[in-house]
Point group: C2
Chain length 492, copies 2
């Protein structure tokens, strides 16, 4: 390496839409993933880690709002000319893994995985091109019982991260119900109607943002947004638009009531009836395991934007009272979701491999939790051992090791600068205590400990400089062998 770059210095900057994550949010994310993993472990799931790259044809094209090829993903050609792309979720790679190792896996194959996924999209506030997802899935699991397990897992994760009942809800729907209603409105429940069904799903998914009128336009002819962009509609007739909108508002608090309404809405459609039967099974298991309507509801406005779902779908929503820094309520909404996707593995194998899963957005969920429990975020700041005598470095490190052995986070200052600079560093780190020891003190067998928090308070309150310097609480001397005990006392 050239010791100095004489030609041109690179500018230190990140690519757009990529973020550096700092300690508080990382600790929060790690706690979240750990809680979810222990739920999945207890339920018999096993960890899996697939690579970041997959072949582009293996990933397929299931991203919402991306019907064009090679858009939405980061793709490059390998040196054998095959296109590889970074995964955009953890489900498509799972499907590839199961298809590739089909005979070696005991079915159902139930795994969990957390990791970065990548979307080559226009970045925006809170919208990144790399973000972390955490998933659990059962592959080779055909019945609604497997979906119910996923729903219960979602509720269990909410509980495991410390949310109280009432602080979250899992909202459950079934794609088959909508298939049934669309069938009754003249959209065939076959491949022929696939694109139209997807447009309907994406329209319903915008109910929150656009309201009933905006969605009605997207279900019918189409809609021009404020910027003048025109989105082609799903071209349902007026009766169809009415039926779909009626369906999205059909849910009640009581799961039984909702099922009765839905049974009459889907009429004689076989897909619709199958959907109602599955909800009945889900309700029965939830009831037996005591997941009441305060934790899990049926909600027909939930559809999930992804094209690959084929049956029950659900979302996990935070209801807890979250406020921003100015005290205004913040609506977090969905922090995760999932559902049944029976066709993803059969893409590779031809034969049916039914599957269901749950995924949550780690960053989104963690930042919501951090706002809920701000006191839970940080790690206590370390005790800083100032270093002002090169000859005593060994002794300083020994003192730090003694503190750590007593369970106290501690570090020796290894930067550049005099004691004033070192105390400023301790202050910026948020340290409460700093330790000072020179060669004269070492000779006397003494250590000085400064309380920086108290020092800062007193600096404000005391005008007399002499009084400030002599204040005993702010600074204490102790014997070297009483050092750890004194630190413990002053930390309390």
């Amino acid at each position: 390496m050239a010791k100095k770059n004489k030609i041109q210095r690179p500018k230190a900057r990140r690519p757009r839409g990529f973020e550096d994550k700092s300690s508080d949010i990382l600790r929060s994310e790690a706690r979240l993933i750990e809680a979810a993993f222990s739920v999945y472990d207890a339920n018999g799931f096993e960890p899996l880690q697939t690579p970041a790259f997959e072949y582009a044809d293996v990933l397929g094209k299931f991203l919402p709002d991306e019907d064009r090829p090679n858009v939405g993903v980061f793709a490059l050609r390998d040196d054998d000319e095959q296109w590889m792309a970074l995964r955009y979720d953890l489900t498509a790679p799972l499907a590839r893994f199961v298809a590739e190792n089909y005979d070696a896996l005991a079915k159902p194959y139930r795994r969990y995985q957390a990791g970065s996924v990548f979307r080559n999209e226009k970045p925006g506030p809170g919208r990144f091109r790399e973000f972390v997802q955490c998933d659990a899935d059962s592959v080779g699991a055909p019945g609604a019982a497997a979906d119910t397990e996923m729903i219960m897992l979602a509720a269990d994760v909410m509980k495991a991260v410390g949310l109280e009942t009432g602080g979250y809800v899992i909202r459950v729907n079934n794609r088959k119900l909508l298939d049934g209603i669309l069938e009754a409105s003249g959209v065939p429940n076959t491949e022929e109607g696939a694109i139209q069904r997807l447009k309907v799903l994406r329209a319903i998914d915008k109910l929150d943002r656009l309201g009933a009128d905006g969605v009605a336009a997207l279900l019918g002819e189409g809609r021009e947004d404020e910027s003048g962009d025109y989105t082609e509609g799903a071209k349902l007739n007026a009766a169809g638009v009415k039926a779909v909108l009626g369906f999205t508002t059909a849910s009640a608090t009581d799961r039984g009531d909702t099922m009765n309404t839905l049974a009459s809405l889907v009429g004689s459609s076989s897909a619709g009836q199958a959907g109602v039967d599955e909800l009945k099974m889900i309700d029965a298991i939830l009831g037996a395991c005591d997941y009441g309507p305060d934790r899990v509801v049926f909600d027909t406005s939930i559809v999930r934007g992804l094209g690959y779902y084929t049956g029950p779908v659900f979302e996990a929503e935070l209801l807890a009272d979250i406020k921003d820094k100015k005290g205004r309520p913040v609506r977090i909404g969905s922090v995760g979701g999932g559902g049944r996707y029976d066709d993803l593995v059969s893409r590779f194998r031809g034969q049916a491999v039914p599957a269901t899963g749950f995924s949550f957005g780690v960053s989104r969920f963690a930042s919501a939790l951090a706002r809920l429990n701000p006191e839970q975020q940080g790690e206590s700041a370390p005790v800083i051992i100032c270093a002002f005598d090169r000859e005593l470095m060994g002794e300083y490190f020994k003192m730090a090791a003694e503190l750590r052995a007593a369970g106290i986070r501690a570090e020796v200052f290894v930067g550049a600068g005099n004691v004033a600079k070192q105390l400023k560093y301790a202050d910026r780190r948020g340290a409460k205590l700093a330790v000072l020891m020179g060669s004269d003190e070492l000779e006397r067998g003494e250590v000085t400990i400064k309380d920086l928090v108290l020092g800062a308070e007193m600096a404000k309150a005391i005008s007399d400089n002499k009084e400030w310097r002599e204040n005993k609480d702010m600074q204490r001397s102790c014997k070297r062998d009483q050092f750890v005990a004194t630190i413990k006392e002053m930390s309390a």
Copy 2:
């Protein structure tokens, strides 16, 4: 989504050089990272996570053996035409982060990070194009005390993952010593001699593989390998080759002896003398903190291949007695290393920002540990609740929840298949116990628990089919409310 891909099925396969990691190795890796993180936390380091992508000019070109541009990394053009590349290590992104946020960071800035790094190289056995590194670094830390801290952290991580003293060693060297010896051999210690110095480093780094003669050739004119490929040498004269080879074998078990030898070897070179002084400081701190030569040695054969090191360098080596499946000893060698790199941040800022760090290869280290402690690897297999009555699914899930509440891993079978298939699944999962309950048993308030391990043993030992069926140990019935207690008893 099209329900069936009628044109052509994608083949389920991974890009070359990328791996799927399964549960045992992942649990082992997670334990390793957790142990390292808690050491770093206790020492006052904070977590950081930088994105996978950086601008290509920000990453620079520091990969060993890669002097050609755009080789060795996965790069693509962003839609604004700037080249982005996936990070090849965690150090270059850290340098970018510090340079970008310089004034906002308290110095020294001490962070840890674990994550995937990517190398676009020819894959081979155990050589992947994506792998996980775990790093700790101090930036803005000029003295040998900061390097010593890194060396002690490396030793602490070895201990934290469960290795005994004697099972590992940290080998320490100093680039400045070699700079001094090369200076005495006519290689100027300036930018002018940079390429020659790098060739010398890479030659020494091959000492293990090529032996003294091979390295001597690479230090001199050059070397033709077995395949006929010719590598240009560093062009040292005969005295220079001799001095360098003498240096690489100068180390003794006692750190003091080594320092004395080195002091005479570097002669009057100022770089060499600075290198010896730093080793003295390192030795003094290690001595005070009780890191004896059984844990840390000075070893002049360690140079580290990366071009950016400027001072002390070190490697962490496993010495533990590891055997392969056939009982042959396996040499693991270095599982991590690090050193001082004072120029990486100044690439961006022009001003000096001294830094030092430690990095280990998570997969390599974890697989070595897994071979050392095979019994530590797994998670106990779950109890499998067989599901053979659709109407009882709620009850099955309730039973699984009761087991989990008692701390027992448990799952309901959610796949397809009759009881025989379900028992086979339980067997493939390695489960010891399977639970059976039909509607008649539910009515009697009873549950049947099968011991699959005992069952398999007995199936081998007992020829009489009737005796086998009636054996009480293999299968027990209990009251529904005694179910958890009975499972506990049978698990023991």
